[in-house]
């Protein structure tokens, strides 16, 4: 049971949250402009790294707000929580 620090409500059990998968996959501005492969890349292809993963969570049974997190897929340690729409804090912009 992860302990996830909701930016609005504070640390809460993982059971209160829903997982939203990989973060920073922006929906294309004009999906029509993409070919099938590029669209598949947006829709299905994932980095799925072994290590630090930038991912989305939503505090489903709390404030219902989405946010991003950096979490290790090896140790499950959460090293950062940051708002939707902001860049990964561990990478230079």
């Amino acid at each position: 049971m992860h302990l996830i620090a909701c930016p609005w409500c504070g640390p809460r059990d993982e059971a209160e949250f829903s997982y939203g998968g990989e973060a920073h996959i922006l929906r294309p501005e004009q999906p029509d402009a993409l070919d099938d492969a590029a669209f598949a890349n947006y829709l299905f292809m994932r980095g799925n790294p072994k290590g630090v993963h930038a991912e989305r969570w939503v505090h489903t049974v709390g404030c219902r707000r989405w946010f991003n997190a950096l979490r290790s897929t090896v140790t499950h340690e959460i090293t950062a929580i940051y708002p939707m729409g902001t860049p990964r804090p561990d990478r230079a912009p």
Partner: protein, 415 residues
């Protein structure tokens, strides 16, 4: 040395001192025709069928730990072929047919026990889906039958079929040819048989990179040095994305923990496999007497082979709903495997844009049953450089074209 009762009797006379190693522990050769990454059941089966069916014997299986240590040794050992779509049904049925002769084929008792797999229906929607499945499965020439609530009770008397429970049992499908097998034995049996055909099994040999010249692979970097290869097959469930990334590919895969557990062993009490999608249970009893129970998948990406206690708690509640008498049984051991989850809950067994690099992944929660079939078609794909008709639909391209094979309903766990 052939395994037989006679051999055991002879062995009894000399403290079993003559049994040779089941497989060699060779040093890596500089190069192989084919390198299989991943010494799980699927990888070892691929190597075996490459050698046996296609005469490709200059093969190495490289395994970062010990063979059968990944999902092969962590699953709930269920074997069945009751899939909805034709593509899946034919693939899993091929696999089931191979299971039926596997112990003899490998001269290794894989303890494939056709004790039946029963999928319960708990609401009208389940019943409709079940009729749809059973009808399709039967027309595909695969055994499947419908059981009424009374027949469910007769077939498995300990299920709570009271109409008053939260999700009463309204019926079930039954595949009598389905069942369970001894998971470790499958890896060991394929390893021993492949070894005898000349395949090198290289344990403690972790792949750290894939070398390419242009768009063609030339070999793998490993913790035991570079190993050249004309063709590379990645069969590294759980870590498929990691291996694919070494070849410069992204996959439609997420890795998740899938938990399972066993109870303490008790005398026989459950003689079939019971699966319920609506109540989220799948349970059987092993030959040792343990209840083997599959729990749900943890929602988050992980490579850690550990899950959340809550998943187990929910699993227990579901189990007790269907089997109230199990409440006083005890959890003896829990663990997790790392499963590759594909968006359509169907695997990928295909060539890739990288020449000589083939990928076999995305089995989600259901890979064990496919072990021999997967190896059989993947060996064909690698040897012939084109898919067998049985895996022709299981491509990477389907994610671009949209021709998915949506088997979400086939798994007892929600993805």
């Amino acid at each position: 040395m052939k395994y037989s009762l006679l051999g055991l009797i002879k062995g009894a006379g000399n403290h079993h001192k003559d049994w040779p190693a089941a497989w060699r522990q060779p040093e890596p050769k500089p190069a192989y025709d084919v390198v299989i990454i991943g010494g799980g059941g699927h990888g070892l089966a691929t190597a075996y069928f490459l050698a046996k069916e296609h005469g490709v014997t200059n093969v190495a299986v490289v395994e970062k730990g010990w063979i059968g240590g990944g999902n092969t040794g962590r699953n709930t050992t269920i074997v069945r072929s009751n899939y909805l779509w034709d593509e899946s049904a034919h693939l899993y049925e091929k696999s089931l047919k191979l299971w039926e002769g596997l112990s003899q084929e490998l001269n290794f008792n894989t303890m494939f026990s056709q004790r039946g797999v029963m999928n319960l229906a708990h609401n009208l929607h389940d019943l409709r889906e079940l009729n749809r499945r059973v009808s399709a499965i039967r027309l595909n020439g695969i055994d499947s039958e419908f059981l009424t609530t009374e027949q469910v009770k007769a077939f498995c008397p300990i299920i709570n079929t009271a109409p008053t429970i939260r999700y009463p049992v309204l019926g079930a499908s039954l595949q009598r040819r389905g069942g369970t097998a001894r998971h470790d034995a499958v890896a060991w049996g394929f390893a021993r048989a492949a070894d005898r055909l000349g395949v090198d099994i290289l344990q403690n040999c972790e792949v750290t990179g894939i070398r390419r010249e242009g768009i063609r692979v030339t070999g793998v970097e490993t913790t035991r040095g570079f190993i050249g290869a004309r063709k590379i097959g990645s069969v590294a469930a759980g870590h498929s994305s990691v291996i694919a990334a070494m070849a410069g590919l992204r996959l439609p895969i997420e890795s998740h923990p899938l938990q399972a557990l066993v109870s303490e062993p008790v005398k026989p009490v459950l003689d079939t496999v019971v699966m319920s999608g609506a109540v989220h249970v799948y349970v059987s009893q092993s030959d040792k007497g343990e209840l083997v129970i599959g729990a749900g998948i943890d929602a988050y990406n992980s490579y850690a082979q550990r899950g959340t206690l809550q998943v187990i708690e929910e699993q227990m509640a579901a189990l007790i709903e269907l089997f109230p008498m199990f409440s006083r049984m005890r959890l003896m051991r829990q663990w997790a495997g790392i499963v590759d989850v594909c968006p359509d809950a169907s695997p990928i067994m295909a060539r890739t844009p990288v020449e000589g690099f083939y990928i076999n992944c995305g089995w989600g929660t259901g890979g064990f049953k496919a072990t021999p079939g997967s190896g059989w078609v993947f060996a064909h794909t690698i040897a012939q450089d084109r898919p067998h008709e049985l895996n022709a639909a299981f491509t990477l391209e389907r994610f671009s074209s949209g021709a998915l094979i949506d088997e979400h309903g086939a798994a007892a766990v929600a993805h």
